[in-house]
């Protein structure tokens, strides 16, 4: 009698029916690996709940409770929300001295700069994507490729001229300058993403509308746009993620007032006035991470398009 079920099926790694399904065995295995992979992030989150004094300790403390005595006290720390409240209030009471962290301002800068530039890129880029998609020119592919390559350029190559440009034009440290720069950064990716969405729409509906007398603009707003709302959302989110975390150019081109969170974080490490407040930094990063985390979770399906700038679809 032939073998009935293989060991792989018994362990839950494969299901006999359906060739691309697996059971709980796979979940356990993948869960283990995923957790290990996630560990550094987890440690950051844990650190955000630690007091400054307990953040740097030997041995490192990583349990918030001692689980009724299961874990030796050396590894336990007392959790606190102080770091989080300090981020937005202007005070840090650890150590007894209230200091102005300024991070509320930096958060505001980050949010504003990122959203404005992504929105701008969305508007300009969507129009351009529509143009590329519906009114193809002779050298369409070349143009699009060149646009893509501007993003693939190591930003390094343009750093020096951009710095010079900014200095000469008086844009260093201003909101306008960095927003314009980020808009340019987001454009290629926006155009590619939105073009791939527009390409997928069926032309018949648009042609029918045109025959009924709608002008080009009306067709765009009433017919095309509603259909690609998902694409707009995804593009907006991905742009946000990319811009949010940008460090190099922000480092060089923002001033004291316009500094973004990543830059401020690096300054904190370098001893720029606050010292390395691990707990606070961890709290900042966790806060910074949360919106991106949830949005990525909900947009998992569109994730691929975003990551490859719309060149690959599911």
């Amino acid at each position: 009698m032939a073998e009935v079920t293989s060991i792989w099926e018994k362990l839950g790694f494969r299901k006999a029916s359906g060739v691309s399904e697996a059971g709980w065995g796979q979940t356990l295995f993948a869960g283990l690996i995923s957790l290990i992979y996630f560990l550094p992030v987890l440690l950051i989150i844990i650190t955000s709940f630690k007091l400054q004094t307990e953040a740097l300790s030997i041995p490192p403390k990583f349990m918030p409770t001692n689980l009724f005595g299961l874990i030796p006290d050396a590894y336990v720390f007392s959790p606190t929300l102080e770091n989080y409240t300090s981020v937005f209030s202007r005070a840090m009471t650890s150590g007894g001295v209230a200091e102005n962290t300024g991070f509320d301002r930096y958060f505001f800068n980050s949010i504003m700069i990122a959203s404005v530039s992504v929105l701008l890129a969305l508007v300009i880029g969507t129009l351009a994507a529509f143009g590329f998609s519906r009114y193809p020119l002779k050298g369409n592919d070349t143009y699009l490729f060149v646009i893509l390559t501007t993003r693939m350029l190591p930003a390094i190559v343009v750093i020096i001229p951009i710095i010079l440009m900014f200095r000469v034009a008086g844009l260093s440290g201003s909101y306008l300058g960095i927003i314009m720069l980020y808009t340019a950064f987001n454009l290629p990716f926006t155009i590619w993403m939105m073009k791939s969405f527009f390409d997928e729409l069926s032309l018949d509906v648009e042609d029918a509308a045109r025959l009924d007398g709608s002008s080009g603009l009306k067709v765009f707003f009433k017919i095309c746009l509603p259909q690609v709302l998902a694409g707009l959302a995804a593009t907006f989110v991905f742009g946000l993620i990319l811009t949010w975390n940008e460090f190099l150019f922000a480092l060089l081109l923002t001033g004291i007032d316009t500094r973004t969170v990543p830059v401020a974080m690096s300054q904190a490490v370098a001893g720029g006035g606050i010292g390395v407040l691990w707990g606070l930094l961890a709290a900042i990063e966790t806060l910074f991470l949360i919106p991106v985390f949830f949005v990525t979770f909900f947009l998992q399906d569109h994730l691929l398009r975003g990551v490859t700038f719309g060149t690959v679809k599911r």
């Binding site: 032939a2 009935v4 006999a16 029916s17």
Partner: protein, 362 residues
């Protein structure tokens, strides 16, 4: 021993029953067609035999061995998929040779077998091309070649001709039938095209909503449909079905009334023993004789639409009571729109179906 047997095979997806209590038995060398409209469960049944669907209850037995828990690899079955499932990155020759790797034969013998099969199906010239570079008909032949290059227990075909255009279908039907009869293995073919089933099968199993409605030879299912569904599914143009009431039955002659008409038909005794007078009369369009005058044995109808079909003409007629009757007459008989027709059904080809839809036969 090449046989396939399904005993009360059932496949459920949650609460939805895709195939229910399917009983089927295929002998060595026999070709059985699973025929039915889409969603009837024929493909599910096929996949249960192949092992691509886990059987929920019942048994699947191939070559005498119970296969319920065996994965497809272990069943020694060859299958031709509806979308051919050719490996896009391999050449035609490599595609055909794929099943042979399992058999641990030398490379030369592999090549010999591939060449032999390629010759049978006229694929010799495209062996080095990729699936993306050959025509639809050639793709289909490659899929068949891949199946017959081995010596499996049995063959399964999932709608093999559905993607071909009409002429190609015609020639491929013949080719496949030839190949199958040479190989003489139990074969199950799934199709929704009755012409395919009627020409290629030794027996046809007609399915609807997961249940087998009738199993029989092509002649049987045509001439003796087991119920209303089979009657209407087999045969083009479609069989005329008229809901009627049995008014009287005397010595083999039944008086049947529908929508203001009475007609006397000759039928079998069991009709007289029906518990309910509600019946359905089934008459195929070619089973009428057009008579010149009305009498108690013919149906009165008025021609409404004439469809010339070449050698024959299809006439759509309507009775006073509103029933649609389709009649096929030879080309020479000219019928005009509005003409009154007196249609006499041939007794041997008149089917009576009871209230439950089942045919009433001896």
């Amino acid at each position: 021993m090449s046989t396939i047997e399904l005993k009360q095979a059932t496949k459920k997806y949650g609460d939805f029953v895709a195939a229910r209590d399917v009983d089927l038995s295929v002998k060595k060398g026999e070709v059985v067609c699973l025929l039915g409209p889409s969603g009837c469960g024929k493909t599910t049944t096929l996949r249960m035999i192949a092992g691509l669907e886990r059987i929920t209850s019942g048994e699947v037995i191939v070559a005498g061995q119970r296969m319920n828990d065996l994965p497809p690899e272990k069943r020694d079955i060859a299958m031709v998929f509806q979308f051919y499932a050719l490996y896009p990155a391999l050449t035609v020759g490599e595609n055909i040779a794929m099943p042979l790797h399992h058999e641990k034969i030398s490379a030369t013998e592999m090549k010999t077998r591939v060449d032999k099969v390629a010759e049978i199906l006229h694929l010799g010239s495209v062996l080095n091309r990729l699936p993306g570079q050959v025509s639809e008909g050639e793709k289909q032949r490659v899929a068949v070649a891949r199946a017959i290059v081995r010596d499996p227990n049995c063959f399964l075909f999932d709608e093999p001709l559905s993607r071909l255009d009409v002429e190609l279908r015609h020639s491929m039907r013949g080719q496949i039938k030839q190949v199958l009869s040479n190989l003489s293995k139990a074969t199950v073919i799934v199709t929704h095209d009755q012409l395919e089933a009627l020409t290629m099968a030794d027996r046809i199993a007609i399915m609807k909503d997961g249940i087998i409605e009738q199993v029989g030879t092509p002649h049987e299912v045509f001439a003796k449909p087991a119920n209303v569904f089979v009657g209407s599914f087999i045969g083009t143009p479609q069989m005329n079905l008229v809901e009627a009431k049995l008014s009287d039955f005397d010595k083999g002659k039944a008086v049947v009334s529908f929508n203001g008409q009475d007609i006397e038909i000759t039928t079998n005794e069991r009709v007289g023993k029906l518990s309910s007078p509600k019946i359905t009369i089934g008459i195929r369009p070619r089973a009428f004789t057009a008579e010149s005058k009305a009498n108690k044995e013919n149906i009165q109808a008025v021609a409404e639409l004439i469809e010339p079909m070449g050698a024959e003409t299809l006439v759509h007629a309507r009775t006073k009571g509103g029933n649609d009757i389709r009649v096929v007459v030879p080309r020479e008989k000219r019928v005009k729109v509005g003409e009154a027709l007196h249609l006499r059904p041939d007794a041997a080809q008149t089917h009576v179906f009871g209230e439950d839809g089942k045919a009433v036969r001896l």
